[in-house]
C-alpha cells in the first residue's frame, strides 16, 4: 500500500534542517522553540544562522540529500534577512543538489517577492500550516491566518513552479466535530495538494492551551471522537489516492516527504539554528534554545551545541524502533539487527506474538509493522517494546 509512495533509493545520506525561531505570535498549542517577532531585529540572528549553515554544510563530507527549513515561521523574516538566509541556503543546494528542499510557511505570510526568492534558491516543496478550514477552530488554536488564506497560498506557490505542497491539518480541536473535520479534509483534498499531514492536537507542557485545559476553561476532545476523526482521515485520504506512510502523514505516489523519512528511519541529519537537533555518525546533538545565547556561542565557539550524546546499544535500538514503527513500512528486522546489534524477535518475540494475535501488528517475513488497529494504539505498543529492549539489555548486563 505504502510502497508506491516512497522512492526506491535507500536513504543513507544526510538531511539538513535549519530552524528559524521567529513567529508573528506564538500559537496556543505550539511547543517548538520560537519567539514572537514584534519589532525585534532579526538580522543579528540571521547573520549567525548563515555562519552556522555554512559551517555545518562545509564540514560535512557526504551528500546532503534533503533540506528542510522550519521553525517558527521562516516566511515571517523581513525581506532583506529572508534574502540573506536563502542566498546561503541556495549555495548549499547548488553544491549538493538535494532531492528535496522544503520550507515551512504560514499561508498568510507568503507573498510574490518571497516566493520568488524561494524559487530561485531551489526550494521545490512548501509545507503549509492549514490546520483547519473553520474560523472558530483556528481561533481556538490561536492561529493568525484565516481559511480564506489557504487556497491563495497554494496557488501562489504553484505559480512560482513549486508544485510539491503539503498542508497540515489538526484534529481533536476542542469544539471540532466529525462533520467539520470531514469538511476540512474535503476542502484540502480538493486543492489537489500531493501531501497532507493530519496531526492530533496534543497538550504539551508549558503551552497556553495546556494551562487553559488545566484551568478547566477548555473541554478536550473525547477520546472516541478523536479516534473516529483519525479513522475518518485514513479512510477519506485513502479513497482519494493518498496513502498513509506514517501515522500522521499521507501522500500521493512518490510524494512522501524525504526529509521527514530520514527522521523516522532514524538516519542522519544535520541541524542548524537555535534549538535545532542533529544526528550525525551516531551522535545526537542539540543546539541551545535561546536566540541570545545562540548568537553568543556562534561568535565565541563557532557552534551552538549544548548537548551531545553518542547513541549505542539498547538506547539506539529503542530510538530506532520508536521512530521506525511509526512508519507504515515498519521495521526490517535484519537491517535493525545489523544496525543496533539487537534481534527484536529474540528480545520481544513473545510480545510481538501476542500483539499479532490481537491484530495489532503484522509480522511478515523479515518485517514488523503496525496494522490499522495497531496504529491507533501505537504509543502503548512502542512503550512496551521499548521497555522490553531495555529490560533485555539490563538482563544481559547482569549476567
Amino acid at each position: 500500500m505504502w510502497d508506491g509512495v516512497l522512492s526506491n533509493e535507500v536513504m543513507s545520506e544526510c538531511g539538513f534542517y535549519v530552524h528559524v525561531p521567529f513567529c508573528e505570535t506564538k500559537c496556543g498549542y505550539c511547543d517548538f522553540y520560537s519567539v514572537p517577532l514584534m519589532d525585534r531585529p532579526t538580522s543579528p540572528l540571521v547573520a549567525r544562522l548563515v555562519t552556522d549553515i555554512e559551517g555545518r554544510a562545509g564540514e560535512y563530507s557526504g551528500d546532503i540529500v534533503t533540506m528542510f527549513i522550519g521553525g517558527g515561521t521562516p516566511t515571517v523574516l523581513p525581506i532583506s534577512d529572508f534574502r540573506a538566509l536563502f542566498s546561503a541556503l541556495g549555495d548549499v543546494a547548488g553544491t549538493h543538489k538535494p532531492r528535496e528542499f522544503s520550507v515551512e510557511a504560514n499561508p498568510a505570510t507568503l507573498d510574490e517577492v518571497k516566493m520568488e526568492i524561494l524559487a530561485s534558491a531551489g526550494v521545490d516543496r512548501i509545507s503549509m500550516g492549514g490546520q483547519s478550514w473553520h474560523p472558530s477552530e483556528l481561533e481556538t488554536l490561536e492561529r493568525l491566518h484565516s481559511p480564506s488564506d489557504i487556497a491563495p497560498g497554494v496557488a501562489l506557490a504553484r505559480r512560482f513552479g513549486i508544485g510539491r505542497i503539503n498542508l497540515d491539518l489538526i484534529f481533536g480541536i476542542p469544539g471540532q466535530t466529525l462533520e467539520t473535520w470531514a469538511e476540512s479534509l474535503r476542502k484540502t483534498i480538493d486543492l489537489g495538494v500531493d501531501h497532507i499531514a493530519c496531526y492530533g492536537l496534543t497538550y504539551e507542557a508549558g503551552t497556553r492551551l495546556t494551562s487553559q485545559l488545566r484551568a478547566g476553561v477548555l473541554t478536550p476532545c473525547d477520546e472516541n471522537l478523536e479516534a473516529d476523526m483519525f479513522e475518518l482521515a485514513v479512510e477519506m485520504l485513502r479513497g482519494d489516492g493518498y496513502a498513509q506512510y506514517e501515522i500522521s502523514n499521507f501522500a500521493r505516489p512518490g510524494q512522501a516527504c524525504l526529509h521527514n523519512l530520514i527522521y523516522w528511519r532514524n538516519d542522519m541529519y544535520i541541524g542548524a539554528g537555535p534549538s535545532a537537533a542533529g544526528y550525525v555518525d551516531g551522535v545526537r546533538y542539540k543546539n541551545v534554545s535561546d536566540v541570545g545565547r545562540y548568537v553568543q556561542m556562534i561568535d565565541s565557539v563557532g557552534h551552538a551545541v549544548l548537548q551531545k550524546e553518542r547513541v549505542t546499544g539498547a538506547a539506539l535500538a529503542g530510538e530506532t524502533l520508536m521512530m521506525q514503527l511509526r512508519l507504515n513500512e515498519g521495521i526490517a528486522l535484519g537491517l535493525f539487527a545489523s544496525r543496533t546489534g539487537i534481534d527484536l524477535q529474540q528480545v520481544c518475540g513473545s510480545r510481538l506474538e501476542m500483539l499479532r494475535g490481537r491484530g495489532l501488528v503484522d509480522v511478515l517475513e523479515d518485517v514488523v509493522r503496525l496494522t490499522d488497529a495497531g496504529r491507533l494504539v501505537a504509543d502503548s505498543i512502542i512503550s512496551d517494546l521499548y521497555a522490553d529492549v531495555h529490560a533485555a539489555e539490563a538482563l544481559s548486563d547482569r549476567s
Binding site: G15, Y17, F32, G70, F171, A197, C198, Y199, G200, T202, E223, N224, E226, A227, F230, I247, S248, N260, Y263, Y269, G271, S275, A276, A277, G278, Y279, R284, K286, Q307, G318, E319, M322, M323, M354, R358, L360, R375, L376, V377, A378, D379, S380, I381, I382, S383, D384, Y386, A387, H390
Partner: protein, 599 residues
Amino acid sequence: MIDRGFIRNFSIIAHIDHGKSTLADRLLEHSGAITKREMRDQFLDDMDLEREMGITIKANRATIQHKYNGQAYMLNLLDTPGHVDFHYEVSRAMAACEGVLLLVDAAQGVQAHTVANAYIAVEANCEIILVINKIDLPAAHPEEVALEVEQVLGLAAEDAVFTSAKTGEGIDELLDAVCARIPAPIGEINAPLRALIYDAKTDIHRGIINHVRLKDGVVKRGDKIRTMAVGSEHIVTEVGKFTPKPVAVPQLSAGEVGYLLAGIKTLVDVNIGDTITLATHPASEPLSGYEAPNQMVFCDFYPGPGTQTPDLREAMEKLWLNDSSFTYEPVTSDALGIGFRCGFLGLLHMKIIQERLERESDVNVVQTAPTVTYEIGLNDGTFIHIQSPSEMPDMSSVQEIREPFCRANVIVPSHFVGAVLSLSLDRRGIHKKTEYLSPTRVMLSFEFPLGEIIYDFYDKLKSCTKGYGTVDYELIDFRGGDLVKLDILVNAMAVDALSVIVHRDKAVTRGRRLIIRLKKEISRHQFEIPLQAAIGAKVIARETIKAFRKNVTAKCYGGDISRKRKLLEKQKEGKKRMKQVGNVEIPQGAFMSILEPDD
C-alpha cells in the same frame, strides 16, 4: 552493695497517651538519674519511630536512686509499651517486676487498655499502685476517676496517688509509695543463679545485650553461664545496670535488674524468657517464663520498586534480631513473586515492622491485605491452620472453615452505646455484657471474629465515638462460620495475592469494593479487562476496564526526539513498578490500596 530489702522492681502500665513516658522521664529526672541537660523529652522512647508515633514499642529500663525514711532505695524501672498489640512485651516486663504503677489519665478516665494491662499485672502477681495522672488539666476529675477504677478493677480509690508528670506534682509521694508498697524482690542470694532474660538487643560492636532480672544468686564477669532452655554455654564478659545509660558493675545479685554480655553474636542463640544459670553450679528448675508472643495478624511482604528479594530477606533478618516477636517465612505468589509471609502481634505491630524495614534497611515493601489464622477442617477429620487465603486447600476437601474469635472490651461515654452496638453488629459481634463504670461511662463486652476487627475496627470505633471509644481484645477460640474464599480475577486470571476469606453475607459487598478499587488502580490497556470477584466458579461482582480506543501521538517531532525518548524512559521506569498478571499490568500500589479503609 545494697541490701535486697531496699530494691524495688516495677514498671508503668497505662492506656496510650495517659502520660507513661512523661512520668518515666519525671521519675528519672527527679531522682537525679539523668541531668536536665541530658533530658530529651521522653528519654526512654529511644527508637526514632517510637518518638515519632509518640508511643513506646520496646520495653526499656532504668535504675533510680531514692531516699525513703532515711534509707537509700534502688528502684529499677522497666518501661513497657502502651499499645494493645504489645501484650507480649508488657508480660515480659511484668515477669521481671514485683509491682506496677497503673497510670490513669485524670481527665479521660479508665480506658480499654487500662483494664487489659491491669489484668496482666494481676496475673503476674504484681502489686498495683493506682496513679491518677494529669491532675493539672482543667478537665481533670481525679477522685471520680479513682472511683471508676475501684468500680472496674476493685483497687481501693483511697490508695490512689495523684500526680502531674508534667509539673512534677506528686512525684515524691509516688516514689515513696513505690518504696513503701511494692514488695522487695524475694530470692536467694546464696542459691544457684537464676536470671530471667526479659529482653535482648543487638549491638553491632558488643553482640547481644541481654536484659536480665536476677531472681536468685549472683553473676559477675568471668562466670561460665548456661541458658537453661537452649543449653548453650558462654563466658560473661560484662554485667551492668542502666542508669539509664549502661554502666558496668562488678556483679549483679538476686533481685537486681541489669544487663549481661557474654559474647553472644546473634539473637538466634538467645531465647527471650529463658533462664540463665551458672554452668558450674546450675539451678535445678528454670524460672517460669512469660507469655510467648502470639502472632494474630498475617500478611505477605514482597520486594517493592528497586528492591530485590535478597535485599528484603537481609532486611528482615536484621530487624528480627532486634524484634523477634514477628515471624517470617518465604512464600511465592504468582502475582508478586518471591516474598515473605509474616506474622504480627496486631495491626499496629505490622505497620511498625513495615516502617522499620523501609526506614532502617532502605528497602521498599509491597504488602498484601492482613489476614488472621483460619482453622480448616478437612473431610478426613484433620485440621490445618492457614495464614493466607492462598493456602486454602481445594474446597472439595474442606469440611468447614473456623475463624478465630476474640473477647473485646469497648469503653465509651454512655451516649455512644448505640453507635458502638450498631458498629459491632455490622462486624458480626456478639454483645455479652454492659457495665457502667460511672453514670456516664460504659464498658461493653463483645465476642468478635478477629478478622472483622483487625482490619479497620479501631478507626471506625474512633470515628463513631468522636475519638472517645477505646477497645482491647484477646483471642479466645476458633469457631465455625459460613466463611468463603473470595477470589479476585483480573482478565480471567485469579490473582492469589488479592484473595480474601470473608463471611458469605459480606462477600458481595467486599468483592464489589475490591474490584472497584482495583478498577481505579489499573490503567486502560490495549484490550478490555474484566475484573471479577468470585466464590469458586460463581462470579458475584464484575467491573470492566475498557480498552483505550486511541493511544497514539499523531504529531511531528521533527528531528528533536529527546522529549519523546524521555517519555518512553519514564514509562519504562513506571513499568518496573508494575506486576504483570497474565497480560495485565497491575501497579504495586493496587495491592496496598485495597488495604485502605472505606471512605
